[in-house]
Symmetry: C2
Subunit: 722 residues, 2 copies
């Protein structure tokens, strides 16, 4: 049983702080609970009330309630709350919804109070939603413990802001769609997004999970990774969509002032949502656009859509919007065009969009006949009907009737098809009965074309998002050598024993080698003579020599790299030069020596890296070197680890990707080798996350044959994590 | 007097095809004309009606009308229309609105008919709107000759689709905003966008010009350039905004099927709108978002905006949206923060967004006091109020009254300020009286944050768009040599006399030189000996030698370029090699010889080019060479000519621009020299537009000192234009 069952499926509920004063929250909530006809036992608790509240006798304390209480809603001010929480714990209450405000959101004192509450709850095995929240709604048990007029329906919604709950609900009411489960989660002092996503993912009454997020509350990155994991599992059951605000720098600053949630990297958050299959949208309107389609529509097999319109301009506009949303408004087959031509007059365009161009004014059934042809076309994965449907009823009673009849037929067609159908209507706001019928019995109707198209775009990606997650969950890491941990631990121990966090390149190369990266041999010289000796030993035509010092991280800036060393004499000379340059750069630098490596023939410059995000922990990054990273910031991120197909998507999503396929007469790179490298590094940093803060393989030369790591930098956390 | 005054300000109007049958278009229009209380004389013409139509005696023919007729609405089917048009011409009607359908949109026959109609009209000096349109509306004379329920207001709207007219009007009605001038322009057989933009630009009743465009109808590029010119002049008077559909390839294909309008390059169209200061939007909703703000708001001095919110999440969302819209949600000054802190409780964030965080529930006047501080701050250019305003009235009668009082004060403040104020409210759809008051007497209120922010973004750019146009209209071209035309004409004459359209490089260089481009000397050798002699004559350490042949345009592919020629012997050798390579590439190539130029030291590779757009004629293009153009398609376009500041914007808007400022230790380029080059080429192609179809200066080396044109290609139109 989920920890959240007592919240969403309680058999008994107590409202602590119930009131008969219609100006008080304790009254509104009491009224909401009664009006929603909660299926279980309902108790009102009021320390002060003598008379009945809404016809119910109040109890002075929860301890006085005769039977067990699964869940309690707590509307008690911070000053008086601790004993009440203790009473709930003593009573054996399984879950609390603390709707009161004045806790962590007000400052350090409030945060301390939250800790005390959580301590009591944890001891008693009691879970808490809130504080500073707007309550909870659950349709299967007819529970509305919010002050908002929420209706039953197929949507799950978790919000970090009660106001957005109201905002979205206005819109949902207009659309005639409601909720299976709704929770305003406030300060998340105990239960967090991860918990609600887990519950709603499993809840059969919920067909889509929607979130409004300002940031995750994390005690450690485990919380972030737990959210990612739960969201992935939820996506395997049903679609997820989220608003996450704080995208811009100014927005992140504002979000920090608002909720105090420490923001990790926005790019990593975006990547995490993407990896979990969560469709990210920007506005409450878009959240419902997508959520309604997710809740009501079939999921298309592919991205080829047909557009059927009686407004030529609307059809073109829909077509325009297809491509950026990943939809293909393809040219219909000759066969389908032939069938359509048999239905439509010669002046009607039929390639896609199919433009009825005035014909419905004579015969509205053309909508239905064309929809039949389009839904039967095996090349068509989904259908968008756009334009004036819903407005014909204004012409005459005969038209009104016909519009209803056609609507019924369209609904039947859509319901019998395994393809999604969405409609846009100019007459949406007028709510004509034909559209109301379609929305209620068939498919979503939108008032703007971009809404309809965005929703179709979200539907189209669902199957591939699920596939990606299944593949990722089933993935086996690249083969990692058995003895890697002992090797790496020894290196980290040395580094930490010297009070360092920066690995020198020789150490970084050993760590990478321990994880199975194939790096060319390196040798460390500590005198000019040894440099000469090692040059010979190396047996390469040319070697690169680099200074090795934990105090000189930017070796090139310090004159710490010499290329093209091709003789013992030059090796000796280079050694002296590098040591001199190092001293000149930083007189007291601790110099370990000079490293020799065979000089590599070059390739396409890439960067593979990792940083440690405060929310999601180890991440992995890929980009092309040079101007691509420095000028164009053309890089991709993921939460680590990633399997090779996902690494492949990282590589392909950068704008400079064509460089790797070979352009301007240059040969391309071995992309599978790059994928393997990115994936391997991601597994490495995931496994070493308690030590490794940062990895920078830069440059990595990608060639036709494989990849060559030319320089490597690893930085540890100041102290080991956990 | 504008040609369109008889359309929008007629003293007398005739409806040809009036009807008393409520099912007919001729009835609806008649009713619209009567209901709108047209201020002038109104005549109904009906060949068949015996009885009065809506209380008015119909005339059998327009010739029967006793007085003069300024404008006639023609609802006569194509079969019978020609004699009617002739009658109108004979009657001295100044303008027609042909609302009937079945003309050019149906095929070649319809197009022929359009030509005949236009011929009659032109002969009589009569202008025509339509056909295949939904009529016209003009508030100053109370004319509603459309079948849509349009209301008075400050907006001008020109549409290529009547359906969008209905669509937008639904939305406008909800917003309580109407039109000064409205025209559905259909097939544009005579009057086109350019004419309507000109009229509405000058019309005092119109405060914003909005357009829905599928494409310009152009007989020649003069029409496209005329639109650009008129739109520029209109922007100097008031803001313009447009939807232009057909942005994607699939969309352009669909638009072609829909209106048959030949699409020029989408990129050039986008550039033209930008050059004319027209704010391009994507949806009918956005058009009104922006249009309403344009019609009702002051234009801000800069882009620094303050966000005042009582919904923390809404504030963050607004802040997030600022940056991509060119708005700066900056951190407010210490001084302003101090003033806000004196008003607000310690837990309220005041940096920007200013978050009232629950305080209005105790005292709604905080809205007004904070707005006062923010509007008085000289750093603040505009104010967005976002969140729950409009919803407080639900609490109590006292709150309802207070919400109205605060609304009145906010309106007064906004009206007394020279800064724009916009509001977002969650309660927009409920239309509470406070919001209705604000919208009617003060400033726009939007139902979604993105609408409000987008509108502010459009407002913010208006002044700079005007400045840009003023500067462009006042610009003097780069100094162009006096004798350029005679020199160039001679070259073109030679080229055309040889039935060529491709200039060889020596010719292209001469054309450029004639226009004042500073190119290094070139010499043409026609034998190995001459090559040797010219090498010496050139006096350069190294020269580049290239084959010169109108049949070998891709010289590099043909082995037609040899670099680093540094002796007479090598010059001789290179000559032979080039000729041999040329022959091997194309045996029958007409080879003019081999060109010698001094070899240049190199620089940052750029491309400056020009192509001839079917709508707007000569254009100019700028990009960086190599991967920037080939892989990243990172180029900018303009309709030619452009002044140097605009050329500067072209250069700065490419993503690779930082390359030109110097990155990775390389020195940057002389950007003013590049600007001069782009501008000079743009004036050259504008002046030579009847001959020149394409110019490709590729590569151009940009160095610290200036630019060096390394290769030049010019292609002429197959036949001279005009």
């Amino acid at each position: 049983m989920s920890d959240l069952n007592p919240l969403f499926r309680p058999k008994s509920v107590a409202l602590i702080g119930a009131s008969s004063d219609p100006k008080k929250y304790g009254y509104w909530t009491a009224k909401g609970l009664i009006d929603s006809k909660f299926t279980g036992d309902l108790y009102f608790i009021s320390r002060t009330a003598a008379a009945d509240i809404l016809g119910k006798k109040p109890y002075a304390s929860i301890s006085d309630v005769p039977g067990p209480v699964d869940m309690a809603i707590v509307g008690i001010s911070p000053k008086y709350i601790l004993p009440v929480i203790q009473e709930c714990a003593d009573k054996g209450v399984k879950a609390l919804v603390v709707v009161a405000t004045g806790f962590g959101e007000t400052g350090p004192e409030g945060k301390e109070l939250e800790k005390k509450i959580v301590a009591i709850a944890q001891k008693a095995g009691m879970r808490i939603q809130g504080p500073n929240c707007m309550g909870i709604f659950s349709s299967p048990v007819h529970l509305n413990a919010s002050t908002i007029d929420l209706a039953d329906g197929p949507m799950g919604l978790v919000l970090q802001s009660g106001n957005f709950g109201i905002d979205i609900n206005f819109n949902a009411k207009t659309r005639g769609i409601g909720y299976s489960a709704w929770a305003s989660i406030g300060n998340q002092m105990d239960l967090r997004f991860a918990d609600f996503v887990e519950y709603m993912g499993q809840d059969d009454a919920t067909r889509v999970v929607m979130m409004y997020m300002e940031g995750l509350r994390v005690a450690s990155v485990d919380d972030g990774r737990n959210f990612l994991h739960n969201a992935r599992l939820a996506t395997l059951k049903k679609p997820l969509s989220a608003i996450k605000i704080g995208r811009s720098q100014a927005g992140a600053r504002a979000a920090a002032s608002h909720t105090g949630s420490l923001a990790g990297s926005e790019k990593i958050f975006d990547a995490a949502l993407n990896q979990a299959g969560v469709v990210r949208v920007e506005t409450p309107q878009e959240l419902l656009d997508v959520g309604e389609a997710f809740a009501r529509c079939k999921k298309p097999k592919g991205n080829r859509i047909a557009i059927l319109t009686d407004g030529g301009g609307h059809g073109v506009m829909a077509t325009d919007m297809a491509e950026p949303l990943g939809l293909d408004a393809f040219v219909l087959s000759e066969e389908t065009q032939k069938k359509l031509r048999a239905i439509l007059m010669p002046h009607c365009p039929i390639k896609n969009p199919v433009d009825l161009a005035g014909t419905p004014e004579h015969d509205m059934w053309v909508f239905d006949r064309c929809a039949e042809v389009l839904l039967a076309d095996p090349e068509v994965d989904g259908l968008v009907i756009a334009g004036l449907y819903g407005g014909y009823c204004d012409f005459s009673e005969e038209f009104r009737q016909m519009e209803m009849d056609v609507a019924k037929s369209l609904v039947e067609r859509a319901n019998n098809s395994d393809k999604p159908v969405l409609m846009h209507s100019m007459y949406y706001a007028q709510q004509p009965e034909s559209l109301t019928y379609i929305r209620k019995h068939g498919f979503p109707v939108y008032g703007s074309i971009d809404s309809a198209m965005r929703a179709m775009g979200a539907l189209v990606g669902f199957n591939s998002r699920q596939e990606k997650i299944k593949e990722e969950l089933a993935a086996t890491p690249p083969q990692l050598p058995e003895d890697r941990k002992s090797k790496v631990d020894a290196i980290f121990k040395t580094v930490r024993s010297q009070n360092r966090i920066n690995l020198v390149e020789t150490e970084a190369r050993e760590v990478l080698r321990a994880y199975g990266f194939d790096l060319p041999n390196h040798l460390l010289a500590t005198s000019p003579d040894e440099a000469a000796k090692l040059f010979t030993e190396m047996g390469a035509d040319k070697v690169v020599m680099k200074i090795v010092s934990p105090d000189i991280l930017h070796k090139t800036d310090a004159g710490g790299v010499i290329l093209h060393v091709d003789s013992t004499a030059k090796a000796r000379e280079a050694y002296n030069q590098l040591i001199a340059n190092g001293r000149a750069y930083k007189a007291d630098a601790d110099v370990f020596g000079v490293m020799l490596t065979p000089m590599l023939p070059g390739g396409i410059e890439c960067i593979i890296g990792s940083s440690y995000d405060s929310t999601f922990g180890p991440s992995v990054m890929f980009g092309l070197g040079g101007i691509f990273v420095e000028v164009l910031k053309d890089v991709s991120f993921r939460v680590a680890p990633v399997n090779t197909p996902e690494a492949g998507r990282m590589i392909r999503e950068i704008k400079g990707y064509p460089m790797l396929t070979g352009v301007r007469g240059q040969s391309g790179a071995n992309v599978p080798a790059l994928e393997e490298g990115v994936s391997r590094l991601s597994y490495m940093v995931a496994e070493l996350s308690s030590d490794v803060a940062e990895v920078d393989l830069n440059p990595v030369f990608a060639t036709e044959n494989g990849i060559e790591i030319v320089d490597a930098r690893i930085v540890l956390h100041p102290t080991e994590n956990k």
